[in-house]
Subunit: 288 residues, 6 copies
């Protein structure tokens, strides 16, 4: 299965290049260059060491292809697949040095992204009986946002803002700077124009009422109790999208989703999900 919104290679190629150069350092892969004959061929398999939702397999293969543009790859469990421990995700064949040199960078991407997809999948499953969606945040790893948000989608989650420029999210500090919720929302509306949505962070039901009255598109309910979340849903009556934020875990998510909010957003999906253990198993084929 291929995710319908895999990012274009142009968007992450520079990132792959920098990651490889970071690992190659000033002198390159001394070990491989010393030991493996130039021109030797190898076959290798990406293998999952733990169970999880795969994300980043094409990215990992693209990393290898920056070292061997003619690398052959056959995907068996691609992005979006749930792979059991031991499953072969893909088989690659190409220049032995290129594969050995690129192995770690390829796996660093694949393990991290699959970890995020797996964590997202878990919480999506936990609230599957409710209409609420799981969303990410901007608490992503510097430089990897595009890919990490892709991994969230692969896990079944929804993407919140990609950056400070694709929606307006008014937080308490903005409100303080504006001297109140009303002037803050009004200034935001002027800036937003017709194509952008406005979200307001509130920490009480009273503020929620004000937000609804001002007609904001989304309301971020920050650390609301279950009782207040339920009250918020009732009072809003569909006039705004409601996002619950703060304290979302596998344990708490079902009850929160049961309150009827539209979104549960969790920063740890991208900043603290453990990596999935994946490996690249080699079979060197022929001398150079």
């Amino acid at each position: 299965m291929t995710d319908p919104r895999h990012p274009r290679r142009l968007l992450y190629e520079g990132l792959l290049r920098r990651a490889l150069l970071e690992d190659l350092g000033g002198a390159g892969d001394l070990t491989t260059d010393a030991i493996v004959p130039e021109g030797a061929r190898a076959e290798a398999s990406f293998v999952a060491r733990g169970e999880g939702r795969i994300a980043g397999l094409r990215v990992a293969i693209d990393a290898l292809r920056l070292l061997d543009p003619t690398l052959d790859a056959r995907i068996e469990h691609g992005d979006g697949a749930d792979a059991s421990a031991g499953a072969r995700l893909a088989a690659v064949a190409g220049d032995a040095r290129a594969i050995l040199t690129g192995e770690r960078v390829a796996l660093n991407f694949l393990g991290r992204l699959s970890g995020i997809a797996t964590a997202t999948r878990e919480i999506v499953r936990a609230i599957a009986e409710h209409p609420a969606k799981v969303a990410d945040t901007r608490k992503t790893t510097p430089g990897l946002r595009l890919l990490e948000k892709y991994a969230v989608r692969v896990g079944g989650g929804a993407n919140h803002r990609f950056g400070l420029d694709d929606a307006l999210l008014i937080k308490d500090n903005h409100v303080a700077a504006a001297g109140g919720v009303r002037p803050a929302v009004e200034r935001a509306r002027t800036a937003a124009g017709h194509t952008l949505r406005i979200e307001l962070e509130v920490d009480s039901l009273a503020q929620l009422d004000e937000a609804i009255a001002l007609g904001v598109d989304l309301v971020l309910l920050d650390n609301f109790s279950l009782r207040d979340l339920a009250a918020a849903v009732r009072r809003t009556g569909g006039r705004a999208v409601l996002e619950a934020s703060g304290g979302i875990t596998l344990q708490t998510a079902p009850a929160i989703a049961a309150t009827g909010v539209d979104l549960l957003s969790a920063g740890w999906l991208t900043h603290s999900a453990p990596a999935l253990d994946v490996a690249l198993e080699f079979e060197v084929r022929s001398g150079g």
Copy 2:
């Protein structure tokens, strides 16, 4: 306390710049620019929300300074400090827009690096009664290796290779490609010259004996049992540095360290340590 080996700003400034541009997107911080008056000043505090070892505070402040070069900062619990939940790490004062715009990027660095330092500290403490050291690996986040390895040092750990170019680590695939341990080590020695060390990964005591006989500098004992680790220490008798790898956790570490190995290396320090929860609390001061 200041860590004696904080990376030079020149080494990570490009990374900070890319991270900020990633968040600013094509149009910048629409919310802040719409709501906060140009020229407004703000004071804010970096505050720990959980207990942990702080790492990345100067990096976070440098991120803000790319937006406001005249930002004032006073550090209270700097890199290397163990901060309790609620502790103020630093106070900053400067352009209100700059601080609001840079907040998330600054925290993304600080939270991740402090998370790594904290995880490292835990395992270092767990084996404190043994002479063994805790080391990182190359399983780092693409693009962040310099900073993540710095965070490991702040946590009391030691750095293994920074890249493929600063030591030779011969793995099973290299051995297979060379047609045996001996030719692999010999080719590596030629390439290593006088300034680089050679490490060999082994998975049995027999291979260890061969490694010692060949005079390699370090031996990576891959997934050895406690019994075999102890045997390896005895057989080696100090002729090589011994590194235990695989299955190192807070629980297993003390027993592994007790075998007498020199190093315990763990990839999860950098790829799966949860971020430390840190926040930036604002007090907007004056209009523009």
Copy 3:
């Protein structure tokens, strides 16, 4: 007057640097370096040669500051001002070589951006008695979108999408690829999530009805007659934002705005507005 949403320097500094290097070429400003003594000081004035709305003055000064970081500048008619021919926009004082070398690049930015702001102002004034807004498009100069869209705002216009990533605009080709309006909108809604708006391009009233029924946020009425625009406004009844596109000129705009549409979008604001004539007048002061 300062526009409240001037882009941050971090967002366009790389562009200024590339523009200066483009002009300096491989050997630098041969004429100035040969003739003007090192260390000579100069005062100069940015002067409008024609009447217009100023935009890009701070950008132009920032260009000079990349060559002389200590340059002094005093703004008299800044971004957003309507300057008459002959008006002094700003006075600068600094290194004579820096100012002479940076002059052309600074003026190239200032003239282009002021030309866009002036053209936008004209059409905004032409429809001032109507509530409709003037909007730009993605038909911008490659590499200059951020600044050109800023110039449109300075001229009183509104910004449409900054890029392919901050709203979904479904065009006829997308509809064809999806096999109809309904599947296209449904797929877009899934991708849009909660923070992004969806716009649909239609070329008939029948398509408009379908769009309204599907609940899209904005409808782009492509080359509609005045009669059809008015009909569209009536049928829509405020359920979607209506954008008139195609054939918007100073002459046609008032009648189009009078139909009651919300937005008039015009690509020529950014791709064909003539530059405003601005100059930098020097007074060399002292030898080096």
Copy 4:
């Protein structure tokens, strides 16, 4: 017909890449990725909507090829052709998503460059019976100089300096800084060496005489009357190339050219020529 001096792709590939990334933003083409199936193929035609001289068609196609390296293209009216409204310039076939995503950037280049070529062609035709040539200036769009000067050549014009480094042009401010025309020219000659030409800007016939006496290669006659231009030609007698500058329009050009000057230079060719209206018409072919 192919222009004999099309710039090498290496020279503008970085520019294309930046332009595409500018449009893709942080998340890519949300609309296309949501709606068009991965792997779908499309055919499309570049079509002129107005009459004009085509320039930038290969550049536009190269933009698409950064998204689909295997894109097929068949050029019908290439750079240098005069296309009537409705003429098909080229047919392309390739990945449907790539073509849809790259469309706007490709057209932004093609429209702008063809607009410049068309404007240049008009003024070249207006003075066709005279030997004088039409030349551009350094008043180009930041970042696009290489391509805009190419478009001028395609329109039949000549290129003046590409940058501050490929000839010396002494302006009034340089003369003032040097303390007179003679020292300015002498210093310039020392710097110019044997491979570079020297041009002097003058605003009176007296200054022209001094320039000729000093043996400069070109003289820029700034805002001379027709009478003075004719006098300048007589006095110079071929000893220097004469360039008329200021107030060159389609209307004034013939009389100016008739005075016998060698060059008419006009900044508006590159900073104010309206874009040519070009479109990309699609025919989606097959699902993915």
Copy 5:
């Protein structure tokens, strides 16, 4: 003495940054960071170890300033000075770590550029009694052309072309491709326009005559004997600039210059001149 055409820092700052990052590698200056306390101050002197013409001192200091922007520098024998062995060129004071870390990169620039300036000075002196000038070529170190050509000027030499774009130099292969000297020169003239000069490489007096007849601006006499050089000067009679190329050494230069040619060009000035031995002598001042 300061050379009047020192390149602007903007032109070489990126080069300095890359050179420092090349030396810092992935982990920075491990030795200095380990041993020298943070905040320690140092004074150091750039000292010539051999006699030579200094070039690149400001460049070297700028390299250190990328590591310590507040570094103090006092120049004693700057670019253009002839320093005896042991002479102090400049004294710097600043952060001890920054100076130690940047030392090698700073010296690598200074030694190479001073070597080029010294070699140029020698050959300029050797032909001092003749009017001929010494010129460089495009046989420069990749990436360093701007600075190496600056060093040639500091040595008293003249700069030939900076790149393929600032004059036309027709070589034998171009002539072959064009099918003769005449078509080659004619095509070149069309492309050159009014601001660029044309040079033709010839290898016989017959070709020289053809070149003169075609009115080229410069003629490159490739490996002519002294007798033929003298004949070339007589035949040309000042109608073109004559450049002798091939076999120019300190020994041969005087006789070649005596033939009356205008230019002697020598690639070895930039590709084979030995570096001048320069050192940075430290005095560490105070702990951190």
Copy 6:
């Protein structure tokens, strides 16, 4: 023969690109573009003009391939070969314009790297009867270290540190800053961890004794007399690698090597070796 450690293209491709753009300047290869028909094909041969050890041939060909990706190349005397004057190193066939345009950059790399390899070979041969090795230093050309150190290997030399990050080299200034040899070495050992070696620069036998006592891995004997070098070898008795530095020339090297030191390091291999004279001889084949 192919050197077993040729750097990966990914490591130097950016350098090639910058070198080509440096030569192409803002307008490209005016001469070739004007004269050689688009699409013309050419064959050309890289030919040695002097005898030497070839290094950089693949790099040179890669430079041409950035201009013509389909260029055909057949290597006859590749990197590591000793070519006599007149020997053909490689034959290439491809786009005539590409080859002419890239010629100078390709040769600049090839000539410099072969010059370094040849100089290294000479000194390696001079000490061939001794076990000592010849090593390079960090005195390399800014930006070219990777390739220059590769050339040293091709010449038979060994590589010392690639950068400040892959071994610790304690110099006199470090010792002074630490307040003695002992604290300097101790701090270095802490920072070095298990994978990096430590070298200490000494200038007396007494310091050597201290170094040996402290267990450093390498000792740099700075400007020792032959007598002291021999004494150093005796005293050390194999407990550390000994590196002789200072005054290493073809003449002095044999006697120095005869003392029994392990390494002779010489900066001039990379900063002052004259380039090998290589040329590219063309045969234009067919019109475009």
